[in-house]
Symmetry: D2
Subunit: 339 residues, 4 copies
């Protein structure tokens, strides 16, 4: 077996800690160092106890350590492009959380640096690695449903994040629906030509006061003629609602949510079943492992990762077109960019 | 189209009225007369309003009317055999509610009379005509599941009948489980060789005080080597629970209950679905029509009915063996009788 | 009981015959006459055999017959407004198939005539009377799901109609999605303010050659702030796909399709379940009865029918806005009209 | 945190390796040594690679090592009692695979030794730790379904084991149904008073030639009046079928199988869904972890384990009564034994 990939983790917030915990249990990786400019003594102690040998406030400690093979970027979005470029200069492979950046120009610069350095860059669209979505994707990819005509994605969070998060998120299209834009491309195998988007904050008026919408809806026109219909909400009181449906020429494939168990209780007023997972850490728990396992494989075998920088760029371009459409009230073309 | 079959109805209790209402809407039949020795003015008025032209307290008014083609026997069980014999003497075809009789000797006499007279006799095992059970039966009959190895039937009523009914019912095996004994033969296409049965009245101790059990359970050994497992209860608080499952060499087929609708409501504590039908009149509503339609076809075409007198006899013989087993605590052979 | 409502049927095509068959079995109605300018001897014989006492080529035979209480309009859409007006002049109550008309001006004229004459007009949106959709509607109406935030309707036919039908249908929005526009208003209890619509004919390019699209998709913005997302297709190879979902502040309610039975077969490659109903006559079989029963009640009690002319007008206004949007590529306001 | 429990593994066959792999990933345990008299160089190498520091052919190397806190007994059934007694002498806690022994006398000796030594003994009934069965158990334990009246367990393997295994298994009742006998006690909270059992080998006649049956069926009469109905088979072509149902006075609770995913594909001949897990290692994968985690907790806190030696004894006593019943054809009492 290959020796483990030595990784440094950039950003030790919620998502950074989650990836760290996963990396620590995977034999494919060795966690060398975690960096976060806002590192607190509490976080440092917590990570040490988990088994992270070293924590630092200075990312340079990671970039400058020649023993580190790869970085996992979990810091705030504004820092991603810069960290990617610094990683390419240090010759390190990169796993980067979504979105790559809110600014398309910076994304392009980062991707070009990746290309020139020949390092691996994988973007953290973990929805692709869910076993339900994956089984659905196989039914499309192997031709079972024929040509895809309509793709529908439902994606709802149980409760809105903090208003502080909302204010700096970049908006629902690039922060939240970006997963769905990526899945739309992944599942249809086609690029998106045009987008209509609209939103509302009926689920939480405070979101509107903070300049965003709580529910985002998009109609996509794919280059291959298919239609995508995406519906998302920041507030679905019954849990993390994640369902996909594809209508094809030969039939229709749907996945249902997961349930905590398969027990049903029947009584005089009907039957009662289990909850769906509360939020993405529960629903995509396994997927977060699988994406890292596949990243390890790409790194070890020097092959294209399952989610590329190009994928990361396209999702942002669709999100930008969606944001424009939500303002203009009309179908907007998705910008075409090569890198 | 053939002219309608002119029928007389014997017994105008709950089940007699139900069949009457169905017969009145079917173009295959013309209801001529209803007879019940306990006919009340209220019932008579009710039936006249429904469209029954004549009611009587004397069954002879039906047997002696040469314009009547067929009788539908819905009277108390003790009268069935006698009515069957009187119908054969009058040359009338017969639809008879289950069970044919509690006494095997009288059943045999009645079936011999039917044979000699060459009239049609169909027994009212309406479970066979349910669309779910019927679809399951097709999967068995067409070989989809291979050889049947285990057949399981769940059959539960929402609430016990009156204790007066319990006292004269003949016991759970012949009154209630007889449907399941018939389905077991129908679905496996094999006769039952041996039965083990046991029961309990934990669901309603008053039933025990009236000499019966509230829940009956039976293990059948079929002549072809398959096993049957039947579970019934007089009290299932969530409705009329009717499910069948067959394990075969190539797979397993199951039917679920019906539900009042297919709506599910998802909330923070899980999901909630609709009720199952409350009792047999709701669940087997359509089946009650289908059995009569098939009876009409047998009468018109002079072909064997879908449920014969032999079927009616076998179900009683299994019920008798079950009742013996429940007393002896051991596997009991099912008596073999020819007619 | 009231004496039956004496009805004349205008239009004896597929839908006219279906309503006729239903009316003939309902004790609330007495079918007096059927009229169709293209009446063939075959259709006449067929209807006579079913029990329609008289057929004619001249609708005047119905309008001029003072013994006829009500008309059921099943003729081609262009004739609806005229027939409604003629019925009002004859003082007859009216059940009219959808859409009332393709021309809003003519609809308004017809509705005003109805108002002035004080007759009952019910429009044939039978989706409202489906037991699944109805149970879902109750969950909304009784507050179970809280305020509706998103309403989603999936409505797909198994196969496109003839191209001749397509050419004269008025287009997918007014011919097909009109049911969904009506359901959207019915379920949310709110009017639609704006519509975005788009379509494609990837499911059947011949439809495009005939000036229409095979799949229509619409995003509705309701006056109360909710969002509607409608997705339809003329071709869904697995049957008549009819599902509705409403996300509310307290939870989410969904209905699934019906299935021909509840049997599942489990084998080494997974499980297999039953078909959904092939098309609307199978799925909405019961609903077609219920709408007529409710029409009878409105007629007998002189109360507002469950689907009014105003409802019929609104659905057309939304359809018109959708058709405009499909051309303009932008959100279009729905015209507000009073009658 | 406590320092890990140092364990030795007795028996390195299929189940021994599985537990070893699990123990190696659990921070609660440190695997010190594995022992198997039939240890091959291949197995030794395999275990070393997994991370087991030492392997031996001599169990004494484990019993005599004072640094070892606990043993995990995965050897052939005949050795269990002896190993338990040796472990008690060495003062080691014990996790023992099911069944404790085929001989009740030896079980009693072993359990007395455990009592006297004051060590922890947990028996490996992993079905109790499945999340579906566990959720069902909670519905019973918290009174949701009221008093349990009927408990039904379906337990089927995908394919029979080797005939060599069959010959030495002790028979289907003690080898296979013992899980279900344990679950019956666990779920009802009541002891079993009487058993009727029967079996057949219609699923695989070769099993009969080797002195066993391929399908075992049992009816249990619990001391509290409830009835248990167990149905098992060595061959269920669609996978590891594991379902439980309990009918109580207030309703009915059922668990369904797991499925590999929640995707359904709808086409013209119905819908198709995913497979169930192939066999117990897949279905009870998580449960095997949970039972060890709970064992660690009992060891660390010196509390009663979730499955005691008494539980292990009762299951064997029921199995013995079942085996007697299968021969006698009658209800057999379950022996009462105290330890």
């Amino acid at each position: 077996m290959k020796s483990p990939i030595r990784v440094g983790i950039l950003g030790l917030g919620r998502i950074g800690k989650m990836h760290t915990r996963n990396l620590l249990t995977m034999k494919e990786f060795e966690v060398v160092c975690g960096a976060d400019p806002f590192l607190t003594p509490e976080t440092e102690r917590e990570l040490l106890e988990l088994g992270v040998p070293q924590c630092t406030k200075d990312p340079a400690d990671i970039f400058d350590d020649p023993s580190i093979d790869a970085v996992v970027i979990c810091s705030v979005t504004e820092t991603h492009s810069d960290f990617i470029i610094r990683a390419t200069k240090a010759g390190k492979d990169i796993f980067c959380e979504k979105p790559i950046d809110h600014d398309v120009g910076r994304i392009v610069d980062a991707l070009r640096a990746v290309q020139q350095a020949g390092v691996i860059l994988q973007v953290g669209f973990m929805h692709r690695f869910d076993r339900h979505h994956g089984a659905l994707q196989k039914k499309i990819a192997d031709g079972t449903i024929g040509d895809v005509e309509v793709l529908k994605i439902t994606s709802r969070d149980p409760a809105p994040p903090s208003m502080e998060y909302i204010r700096t998120s970049g908006g629902i299209y690039v922060d939240f629906m970006i997963h769905d834009f990526d899945m739309a491309r992944f599942l249809t195998g086609s690029e998106v030509a045009e987008v209509f988007a609209t939103g509302t904050s009926v689920c939480d008026p405070e979101i509107a006061q903070n300049g965003d919408v709580g529910s985002g809806h998009a109609v996509l026109r794919f280059e291959n003629g298919a239609i995508g219909i995406l519906e998302t909400s920041r507030r679905s009181s019954f849990g993390h609602d994640q369902r996909i449906e594809a209508l094809g020429s030969k039939g229709c494939v749907m996945d249902d949510n997961e349930y905590e168990n398969n027990v049903r209780f029947f009584t005089h007023d009907g039957y009662h079943g289990a909850k769906v997972p509360y939020h993405f850490p529960e629903r995509y728990k396994e997927a977060y492992f699988v994406e890292l396992r596949d990243f390890a494989q790409a790194v070890n075998q020097r092959t294209a990762p399952p989610v590329t920088g190009f994928d990361g760029l396209q999702a942002v371009l669709i999100a930008e077109a969606a944001a424009r459409s939500a303002k203009s009230g009309r179908l907007e073309p998705v910008e075409r960019m090569e890198i």
